[in-house]
Symmetry: C2
Subunit: 228 residues, 2 copies
């Protein structure tokens, strides 16, 4: 589903030069469920953003379902991304002036669905993420950290994208809520969705099929999960 | 150091009424190191914000070092808070238009220190939080999630406040970085600082002296940490 080929990413600002990725190659097969782990600052978010077409590599290529995404224009890239990829951001990125319901429905706007149909999908996604319908008419900043995180997850899965990329989806959740989220990812994966998840939590990583280890912008190994 | 007496907090918006705290009483002795744990949405952040004088309760009182904080004007409250309390926010709340150095120095501005002296304290705080001096001239949004979290921690401890309140200080950190942060909290506590920490991580909570359990806006119990 996703092929990352010799990807480099450098950030420059003034005299500051940071090589966030230094030649990363990996391939995520369709229908797999993989985790990415590594120290803070090692390049995980940078890698996921590039896999999710939110950012372009400085060097290297990214193929999604066989398409060489570097050949796409910015506009084609956005359309491709909206259609195929659901993204859970490390900092949620919810829109504060929209309600929770409107936030979750955002990926569905371009689909020409009837209003009730869109709402039904949104409520369904929120429940799958472990959320509560009492949140629907609230604004994101009227929710707790963990509640916002679950709204962000609902928004990422509402359109049933073929690829779900999740950056630390359980960082603000207690163990019980985290388990609901992971259970949902496992179920989506059984239905055929490809899942790539960044996590610092070994218990969460152990629910995936394979763990990629990143350090200083490089892939340094893989681990077989040890479920208990 | 902190006495919370029968505190209630309600949020109203339109027809929505949420009782975030329903009669919480607790007392944190000077020099102790306590954790607060509980499900997402149970009221932990609301409680910490009230303990940190960032918010006022709907009902009930809060005493800090014997002072009845409800008798203070907003201006006196802000001054009292800036002097005594360091706060690590669940969503960091760093200022994007300032550099990392300027962000960390923010609590020191009112102290009339020489510029080199202020910088030295800031660098010291950043290293204690497990940060790196290469971050100093960057902007917060040029850092990874876990790096931003450590800058937020540095800012909270730079002024050596008598009370440190930390809301999920390790949520975005790998195990090694989290241990550096907790080690620092333990050292600050040995020097006399009172620490109150919200965490979902049992390993982190087990480093404190006592764990308060919150559920649905109520204190439901305490736990003795089981260090291994
Ligand atoms: N500004 C607000 N307006 C309305 N309701 C709010 C507001 N802030 C918080 N709440 C509600 O108050 C309750 C407690 O929120 P709080 O942020 O204290 O939870 P928490 O225990 O910190 O959760 P988490 O572990 O997810 O961070 C939640 O149900 C939340 O939806
Ligand atoms: N916009 C930017 N400008 C400059 N440097 C950046 C920028 N974004 C990220 N970096 C740097 O790139 C490196 C990798 O960052 P990244 O966010 O990918 O790390 P991460 O593995 O996700 O960390 P964490 O676990 O803390 O979230 C870090 O050293 C960071 O400081
Ligand atoms: Mg990250
Ligand atoms: Mg909270």
């Amino acid at each position: 589903a996703i092929v990352v080929e010799e990807v480099y990413k450098v950030y420059r600002s003034g005299t500051n030069v940071t090589w966030a990725l230094r030649g990363v190659s990996l391939s995520v097969d369709r229908g797999s469920f993989v985790s990415i782990m590594g120290p803070s600052g090692s390049g995980k978010t940078t890698l996921l953003n590039i896999m999710g077409l939110l950012d372009r590599p400085t060097r290297g290529r990214v193929y999604i379902d066989g398409v060489d995404t570097l050949r796409l224009s910015d506009r084609e890239l956005a359309e491709f991304r909206n259609r195929k990829i659901g993204f859970v951001f490390q900092t949620f990125n919810l829109v504060n002036r929209l309600t929770v319901l409107e936030n979750i429905e955002l990926p569905l706007i371009a689909r020409g669905l009837a209003r009730e149909e869109r709402r039904k999908l949104a409520v369904d996604a929120l429940l799958k993420a472990g959320g509560d319908v009492s949140w629907l008419s609230k604004r994101p900043n009227q929710l707790s950290g963990g509640q916002q995180q679950r709204v962000a997850i609902a928004r990422a899965i509402v359109g049933s994208p073929t690829i779900v990329l999740a950056d630390e989806p359980t960082g603000n959740l207690d163990t019980a809520s985290a388990r609901v989220v992971i259970k949902t990812f496992i179920e989506l994966n059984k239905l055929g969705q490809t899942i790539v998840m960044i996590t610092h939590n070994p218990e969460v990583a152990n629910c995936s099929h394979m763990i990629y280890l990143i350090r200083d912008g490089r892939l340094v190994g893989t681990m077989d999960p040890s479920p208990e």
